[in-house]
Symmetry: C2
Amino acid sequence: MAKNEARRTALADAGISVLAREGSRGLTHRAVDAAAGVPTGTTSNYFRNREALITGIFERIGTRLAPRADDLEAAAREQPSRELFTRYVRDIVRRLTTNREVTLALYELRLEAARRPELAAPLVEWQHAAFEADIAFNEAAGLPGGRREIALFHYAIEGFVFDRLTSPIDPETPADEVIDDFVAGLLR
Amino acid sequence: MAKNEARRTALADAGISVLAREGSRGLTHRAVDAAAGVPTGTTSNYFRNREALITGIFERIGTRLAPRADDLEAAAREQPSRELFTRYVRDIVRRLTTNREVTLALYELRLEAARRPELAAPLVEWQHAAFEADIAFNEAAGLPGGRREIALFHYAIEGFVFDRLTSPIDPETPADEVIDDFVAGLLR
C-alpha cells in the first residue's frame, strides 16, 4: 500500500513534468510512463482514464504548492498585520515561481479547461475549495482582507507569476516590489 | 498582392483558431491548412517555418485585439480623468474576453515561450513594444498612472482575464466591479 502510494505520487510528478514540458496536449498515459521510466501500461493501472490522471495531478499540485507546516506555525504565533499578510503573499509567489514546473502544469490544465468544459468542472471545484480555504485562513489568522480582496490577489498574483514564468514585460523590477505595490493598493 | 494579403490574414486567423482549440502543440502547418480549408502546403508557402507562422499570428493577434479607431478618437476628445482611465481598462477587458479565441491563443503562445526560449525572444519584443505604447498613450492622453502602474494593470488584468476564460474562482462578481476595485487600488 505504501509502495503503491509512492508509485502513484511518482506518476503524478511525471505527469506534471510532461505538462510543463509538452503542454496539455502531450499529456497521455504513455508519455507519463516514459517520463517516469516505468513499463508501458503502468500509469493506466493507477489512473484508468485521462480524467483520473488529471485529478491525481491536481492533488499532487496542491501538495507541492502548499506552504510548509513549520512556516505556517511560525507565522501563526505572530501578531496579525499588513506586514504579515505581505510576507504570506511573498511566500506564495516564491513557491509558485520556484516550483516552476508545477505552476506551469497548473496553467496548462486551466487553459485546457477553456477548451474542454468537462475538465473545467473538477478544476473549478478544486480551485473553489482552495479559495474558500484562503478566506477562512485569513479570517482565522485575524489578517486584513476578506473574500473580495482575496479574489483580487488571486487575479493579480496569477497574472504576475504567469508573466514572470513565460515572457516577462518588465523583468528588472524585483518581485517583492511588485508584491508590495499590490498589497499597498489592494489590501483594505 | 491584395489577394495574397487577404490569404495571409485568413491563414493567421486559422492559426489562432488552432491554438485556441488544440493548444500550442497542435499548431502545425498542416493543421492550419485544414482549419483554413486550403490545400495542404498553402500555409508553408506563406509562412516558411513555425517561427514565421507564429510571428504572423502575433501580428494578427495585435490587430484583432487593438481598440477601434473611432473609440480612441472619441476618448481623446474627453478630459483625462480616473473615470476615463477606468473606461479604457473596461474596454481592454471587454476586448480580451469577447475575442476569447484570440486571447486564449496568446496565452498558449506565452506558455509555449516558457518551454521554448527561442520563442520567448520575439514574444518579449512584441510585448515590450505594446507595453511602451501603452505607457506613451497614457502619458500623451494626460491620464494618471505611469510605467509602474501600467505594469501592475498588465499583471492584474491578464490574471483576471485568464481566470474568467478558463476556470473562474468567483464568476458571480461582475467584471466591471473587479476592474473598479483594481483602479481604485492601483491607480495613484
